[in-house]
Amino acid sequence: MKVLLVDDSRTMRNIQKKVMEQFGPMEFSEAADGVEALSVIAATPQGFELILIDWNMPHMDGHTLVLRIREKDKLTPLIMVTTESEKQRVVDAIKAGVNNYVIKPFTPDQLIGRVKQTLEKRKAAA
């Protein structure tokens, strides 16, 4: 599965990789902010099967990134993985177009659970 991890913390991206690898074979791409993520997406014409996005990042935050992705792509599953836990933030992210939401800190089971749930919903909708 082709997955894009967008987080300004390399440690967090590495943790996400380790957790996601338990889910099955993965091919990861990475970006440290929204601007870099848009470049990676533009350079990957075959697209990604899943994108995990942090909210607070320099240059372009995750919320803006989600809006930018959804201008062209309504289908790729997007999961926000963030410390932002206020109800209004979750609502804002869903309105912007995320398919699921994971609050940091998370356990491996929590992240995997949300990934499974998101991919199953996408599969059922296809």
Binding site: S9, T11, I15, T82, T83, S85, E86, Q88, P105
Partner: protein, 170 residues
């Protein structure tokens, strides 16, 4: 001639402390896999050094000030190893990244309970024994000492609520 009122000692507002206590416990248990013991908070009455490794998160909006998570070097090295799943050299940029991310999750976890329009900065990390962190002069600094099985750390909370949250988001 009237006398000037005696200077009031700064008080500790539990509503500012409890969210951080809960966030520290949650972050260390879920992401690092260690239990923490937090001791009684006290007011830091003079500029004094923190531990060897500090991560600073700024607050703005409904809450202003800063929060510092400071570790003994040996504790930081062990905690980062447990968090990242591998040993990371102290002088590597990834070490500061990992320490910063721990502080980011602690501040982010507490933020929800402090104000709806509160925002946090990306973390800054200072490495080196004996460093002193300057803070807003009109906001007391509350220290919560903590211990883990691999060493000590402290949370230094120097924030002021400009507007209390109106709705509880539980």
């Amino acid at each position: 001639m009237s006398q000037a009122p005696p200077e009031m000692a700064p008080t500790i507002n539990p509503k500012l402390i409890v969210p951080f206590v809960n966030a520290v416990r949650s972050v260390f248990a879920k992401m690092v896999g260690v239990q923490t013991t937090l001791e009684r908070p006290h007011v830091k009455t003079f500029p004094a050094p923190t531990y060897d490794v500090s991560s600073i998160i700024g607050f703005s909006g409904d809450v202003i000030g800063s929060v510092v998570v400071s570790f003994q070097r040996a504790a930081a090295e062990k905690l980062v190893e447990a968090f990242a799943g591998m040993a990371i050299a102290y002088d590597s940029p990834d070490f500061a990244d990992a320490v910063g991310e721990l502080a980011n999750m602690i501040a982010g976890g507490a933020k929800k309970h402090l104000g709806h329009a509160a925002a946090i900065t990306v973390p800054s990390v200072i490495l080196g024994a004996g460093h002193v962190i300057a803070r807003l002069s009109d906001v007391p600094c509350i220290v919560i000492p903590g211990t883990t099985p691999v060493g000590a750390f402290a949370l230094e909370i120097s924030i002021k609520q400009l507007k209390a949250p109106q709705v509880n988001d539980n």
